[in-house]
C-alpha cells in the first residue's frame, strides 16, 4: 500500500507535468463539451440536449482518459525502455500498473467533475436522482476501458503510431455510440456497427439512468457486454503485454 501510494503520487506528478496528457487526455473532453454545448440546442426526449451532452461527454472522457491515455502512456513508456527500467527494481509489476491505471482514473474523476460543474453552471444541466447508479456505471465503464487500454497497448507495435491508432479507435467509436449526441437519426448501418462497440453500452447504460430512470441493475445486458469487453482487454494484455521495447 505504501508503495502503491508512493507510485500514484509520482504518476500524478508525471501526468500533470506532461503537456500532452494534461491537454489532450484531461482537457480535450472538457473543451469538446463546452463546444458542443454551445452549438447544440433544443431538446432530447423532453429535456435540454445539454443534459444528454453532459453524460455523453463524460462517457467520451472514459474512453479518452482511461482507455486512450492509458494505452498511449504504456506504449510510449515501453518503447522508451521506461517499463524495462521499472522491471529491474523491487517495485512489483502489478503495483506499478495498478498505480498507473489509478492515476488515469483519478484524472478521469476530476474531468467528470469538471464537466458536471460546467454543465450545471453554463447550461443548467440536470443530473438524475439515482446518482449512485450513474457513478457505478461510469466506474464500471472506466475499469473496463482501462482493461481494454492495456489490451490495445499490448497490440500496438510502435510509439510513433500509438496516438493515431488510439484516436482512430476513440473518435469514430464515440461518434457512433452516441457520446457526442443522440444517434436515433443515424442510418441503420451505422447503428448496426455501433451495436458491437463497447462505448455504445456505456452510453446506453448512462442515458438509461438519466432519461429512463432505470437503475444500473435494471440493465444487466449492457453491464455484461461492457464487462466482457473489459475482461477481453485484460486477457489480451495477459497474453501479449510486453515490458521491453518491441522496436530495436
Amino acid at each position: 500500500m505504501r508503495l502503491f501510494l508512493h507510485q500514484l503520487r509520482s504518476e500524478q506528478r508525471i501526468f500533470w507535468r506532461n503537456r500532452e496528457s494534461a491537454v489532450f487526455v484531461f482537457l480535450f473532453p472538457v473543451l469538446l463539451f463546452l463546444l458542443l454545448g454551445t452549438v447544440y440546442s433544443g431538446h432530447y426526449r423532453g429535456r435540454p440536449v445539454t443534459d444528454y451532452l453532459t453524460v455523453g461527454l463524460i462517457a467520451y472522457g472514459v474512453a479518452n482518459t482511461t482507455f486512450g491515455g492509458l494505452a498511449i502512456t504504456v506504449v510510449i513508456r515501453r518503447e522508451l525502455g521506461l517499463l524495462k527500467r521499472i522491471l529491474s527494481t523491487p517495485l512489483p509489476a502489478p503495483t506499478y500498473l495498478i498505480a498507473l491505471v489509478c492515476s488515469l482514473l483519478l484524472a478521469f474523476v476530476l474531468q467528470a467533475i469538471a464537466i458536471v460543474v460546467l454543465g450545471k453552471t453554463l447550461y443548467d444541466a440536470h443530473l438524475p436522482s439515482d446518482r449512485l447508479s450513474l457513478v457505478l456505471a461510469y466506474a464500471l465503464g472506466a475499469l473496463c476501458f482501462a482493461g481494454m487500454g492495456l489490451g490495445v497497448a499490448s497490440l500496438i507495435r510502435s510509439s510513433e503510431g500509438a496516438s493515431a491508432v488510439v484516436n482512430v479507435i476513440i473518435l469514430p467509436m464515440t461518434f457512433l455510440s452516441g457520446g457526442f449526441g443522440p444517434t436515433r437519426d443515424y442510418p441503420q448501418v451505422l447503428n448496426a456497427v455501433a451495436d458491437v462497440l463497447p462505448l455504445t453500452y456505456l452510453v446506453d447504460l448512462v442515458t438509461g439512468i438519466v432519461f429512463d430512470g432505470k437503475a444500473i441493475w435494471d440493465q444487466r445486458s449492457a453491464v455484461a457486454v461492457l464487462a466482457a469487453w473489459g475482461v477481453a482487454g485484460v486477457l489480451v494484455a495477459l497474453w501479449r503485454f510486453d515490458w521491453q521495447p518491441r522496436e530495436r
Binding site: 525502455g81 527500467r85 529491474s88
Partner: protein
C-alpha cells in the same frame, strides 16, 4: 565469495544461438568486464543475469539467487544501468531519484546520490533540459539509489566524449572502492583495461578467454616487425631474444639493414583483435 556464477549458459533467438554455453564467475567486490564486438552475446548474457530474459540452458546464480525467477529480494540488491538513457522528461533528477528510492528497502538519501553522480546543480531542472552525459549520470544514480551489492552496466560510456568517459571511470572506481561488485560490458578495450579486475572476451556467443588484463597480454607473443626487400614482415615469437639474435646476425652477415625494425609486447588490443580474428579462421 562468489557474486555471479554462470555454467553452460545457452540462449537462442529463433533458432540462432546468441550464447553458446559459457562459463564464468565473478567474485564479490570484483569488477568484471565482458568484452566483445556487437552481436557477440554481451547484452544477452547480461540481460539473463539481470532477469530480463529466460535462459534456454545452464545454471546461473546471482548473489545466490536464480535471476530467472525474478525475486524481489534479488532486485532489491542489484542496480542496473541500461544501454538506453531515456527517462521521464518532465520530472527533475531529484524527483526521479526519489521515485526510485521509494522502491528499495534500504535506499540511500536522495541528495547524497544526486551529489555522488555530480548532478547537484541540476537537481531541480527538468530532465529534458539535461545533456546526454547528464542523463547517463542520472541513469547511474537510479542504479545506485537502492545501495546495491551488485551493479550491472551495459556499455556505460558508449557515446561519451573523452572527458565524460574519464569522469565515469572515476565513478566506477569509486564504486569498486566501496566494495560493490560490478559487471560491465564494453566494446572499448581501454575501458576494460582501465576498469576491470578480470576480462572475459566473447566472440559469437562463446567465451574465448577469461583473465586479468595483464594475464591476457602476458600470455601473448612478442611481435617483431621489419621490412625485407621492401615488404613488411611481422613475426610473433615466444623467444624474442633468440629470434632477434638470429635476424640481426643474418642481416649483419649479409651486410644489409633490417629496415624499420620494431619490437613490442602485444597490447590488450592486439590480444583482442587476435581472438576475434580466429573467428575468421574457424
Amino acid at each position: 565469495m562468489t557474486a555471479i556464477s554462470v555454467r553452460g549458459l545457452r540462449k537462442s533467438y529463433d533458432g540462432v544461438e546468441a550464447v553458446r554455453g559459457i562459463d564464468f564467475e565473478v567474485a564479490a567486490g570484483e569488477v568484471f568486464g565482458l568484452l566483445g564486438p556487437n552481436g557477440a552475446g554481451k547484452t544477452t548474457t547480461v540481460e539473463i543475469l539481470e532477469g530480463y530474459r529466460k535462459r534456454d540452458a545452464g545454471e546461473v546464480s546471482v548473489l545466490g539467487f536464480d535471476p530467472g525467477r525474478r525475486e524481489r529480494a534479488l532486485r532489491a540488491r542489484i542496480g542496473v544501468v541500461l544501454q538506453s538513457s531515456e527517462l521521464w522528461p518532465n520530472l527533475t533528477p531529484a524527483e526521479t531519484v526519489r521515485m526510485f528510492a521509494g522502491y528499495y528497502p534500504k535506499a540511500r538519501p536522495v541528495d547524497e546520490v544526486v551529489e555522488l553522480v555530480g548532478l547537484a546543480e541540476k537537481a531541480d531542472a527538468r530532465v529534458k533540459t539535461l545533456s546526454g552525459g547528464q542523463k547517463r549520470r542520472l541513469d547511474l544514480a537510479l542504479a545506485l539509489v537502492g545501495d546495491p551489492d551488485l551493479i550491472f552496466m551495459d556499455e556505460p560510456t558508449t557515446g561519451f566524449d573523452p572527458q565524460a568517459r574519464r569522469a565515469a571511470w572515476e565513478m566506477i572506481r569509486g564504486l569498486r572502492a566501496l566494495g560493490k561488485t560490478i559487471l560491465l560490458t564494453t566494446h572499448y578495450l581501454d575501458e576494460a583495461q582501465q576498469l576491470a579486475d578480470r576480462v572475459g572476451v566473447l566472440r559469437n556467443g562463446s567465451l574465448v578467454t577469461v583473465g586479468t588484463p595483464a594475464e591476457l597480454v602476458g600470455s601473448q607473443l612478442t611481435e617483431i616487425r621489419y621490412r625485407a626487400n621492401g615488404e613488411p614482415v611481422v613475426e610473433r615469437t615466444e623467444t624474442p631474444t633468440r629470434r632477434l639474435n638470429e635476424l640481426t646476425g643474418a642481416a649483419l652477415a649479409e651486410g644489409r639493414e633490417l629496415d624499420e625494425i620494431e619490437v613490442r609486447r602485444a597490447s590488450l588490443e592486439d590480444v583482442y583483435l587476435d581472438l576475434l580474428d580466429e573467428d575468421a579462421d574457424a
